[in-house]
Symmetry: C2
């Protein structure tokens, strides 16, 4: 069973997955990525789809391509840190907007987050 849903293009979802792995440090600066074909196999998608995702990441500067030896995570740790911060800011802002739009106040949101964090610990 695939991790992808049908609510957004797969290449965007895959791009997001890869991006998160890099930002989280799961794949380190300078580290070599699996080949386009391998990633496609692992994820159960077409190589073209995988390449499309990787091309997008390269546009953001997260990935460097060496024409014949493969693709690598940028060695620019500062850039990664910056993008991680940007990403987090966007995620938080988007979250706040969503919650506010269905009628929650700032303090309520905060309480809600704490409550679910605590519940999550139990459920893990």
């Amino acid at each position: 069973m695939s991790v992808f849903n049908n609510k957004a293009p797969i290449y965007l979802q895959l791009m997001d997955e890869m991006k998160k792995k890099i930002l989280a440090g799961e794949i380190k600066p300078g580290e070599k990525l699996p080949s386009v074909r391998d990633i496609a196999m692992d994820q159960g998608v077409n190589p073209n789809t995988a390449q499309k995702a990787l091309t997008q990441l390269e546009t953001e500067g997260l990935i460097i391509t060496n024409r014949t030896s493969g693709k690598f995570v940028t060695e620019n740790a500062e850039l990664i840190k910056g993008l991680k911060d940007d990403f987090a800011k966007a995620v938080v802002l988007n979250f706040l907007i969503k919650m506010t739009s269905i009628g929650f106040t700032d303090p309520e949101i905060l309480t809600y987050v704490e409550k679910i964090q605590k519940a999550r610990i139990i459920n893990v």
Copy 2:
């Protein structure tokens, strides 16, 4: 300029917008919705697309259709409250998973939310 992006089907985005309005109480229980054609006009989408969104909402029980007089928000306030809670839980959980997956700890997340809440007040 439309409020919709190209990262997901418009009917899903419109569905989400309508849903949020109902959950937020912006459109009240029992209140009549604009006609399919009017909604489509307002949102700048095709009537078929609007109808597709509304059909989905009816499946969830948020909307009741009277064949010739129009569509109405359910009068079941309890149901709305329940769905609002479900929606909020899903949003929070999804948010926490996202932040955790890029390497933030629970306390860090909380601090981040507070920080951006404060910043938002200034920016509004």
